[in-house]
Point group: C2
Chain length 233, copies 2
Amino acid sequence: MPALSSNPARPAAVVLLSGGLDSATTLAIAQASGYACHCLTVDYGQRHRAEINAAANLVRTLGADEHRVMQVQLGDFGGSALTDARIAVPTDGVAGGIPVTYVPARNTIMLALALAWAEVLPSGDIFVGVNAVDYSGYPDCRPEFIKAFEEMANLATKIAVEGTRLRIRAPLIGMSKAEIIRRGSELGVDFSLTVSCYQANDVGQACGVCDSCRLRRAGFSAAGIPDPTRYIG
Amino acid sequence: MPALSSNPARPAAVVLLSGGLDSATTLAIAQASGYACHCLTVDYGQRHRAEINAAANLVRTLGADEHRVMQVQLGDFGGSALTDARIAVPTDGVAGGIPVTYVPARNTIMLALALAWAEVLPSGDIFVGVNAVDYSGYPDCRPEFIKAFEEMANLATKIAVEGTRLRIRAPLIGMSKAEIIRRGSELGVDFSLTVSCYQANDVGQACGVCDSCRLRRAGFSAAGIPDPTRYIG
């Protein structure tokens, strides 16, 4: 851990926090690793506000140091079922290939914003809850993407030129959904606060049938942990 | 050129357009190369609106296909003289090192947004007016950064997974400011419309003493082309 913080025993980290199960567990891992966590939620025009409220509740219950919500209107570009209401969220089960819920360049944009904040804090560590095992086939969740972003970040920034090695930390990347749920539970994450559903309603109830709901439900089942998700109807 | 557009003879490109001299020349080069240019201006909370107005005027006079202005409040993070009014813009001449006008992760963020738009258009070509010769020492203007971003982009995106090789095109990267001005002039860029000054006033008049003004003025002088910049006072 780089001794960048004013308190070297507790260095600063930026944690991307969507309000879902994976990023909640990632925040808990960063907290347990001794980082002062500065959480960034990106409001990119997704279908519902529920996950942004979930992020705020997670920050409070997990005791992170700071939370910021940043607006980026990716809906202006569209091209995804999550940012264009005219494209339906698939509910027939997880299929092969990259689904229409893929949001163009989303993780690149979120990591870029986190990188800006990391430079200012300063912090050498950015946590992101991407996962390449039980996931939706998004290219920007793969380890080779994370590695390439890290390389780029170390060429892009003043903080790197001045000697800090930036690290993109993706502690969940090789874990199954069940393993993530077990680890989060051990660390005290209240998963009832998290919202994974692509089309949750305004109070955070989940549809139960989108890819994200299916992966989450199967994860709780495989972990042998009761599913606290509130489903619609 | 990849034949991605509905008109294969005129493929689409995303062009990052700040409204300055370099990005104006970059747009002119992309137009002259036969691309249908979709220009993206990022309103990131910079000190003045003049360069965003300049971008709109350039799009009109150079005849680009489309122009979008996207808001990203990098001022929330601060850490730069361009996004935090409490940090003064240096006016004593171009010094060594990375100056306080460096905006953390700015080019990474702008290229990430351009990448999102490129996926949706679709387009395999993103133009950016970075320059590593007569420049301000920003790490995210160096060729090694552009190369690393391109590598990352080709791992991040659906469009790349599906077979399009994304290219970050930085045609000015090895040119002096004088060469950029000569090339822009040949291509008909009206430099009186461009705003390079870090602290221009609302009608686009330049201070004449910030690093950007100094590099620009020296460029016109070296190119032997009359400087059309409107200076304050």
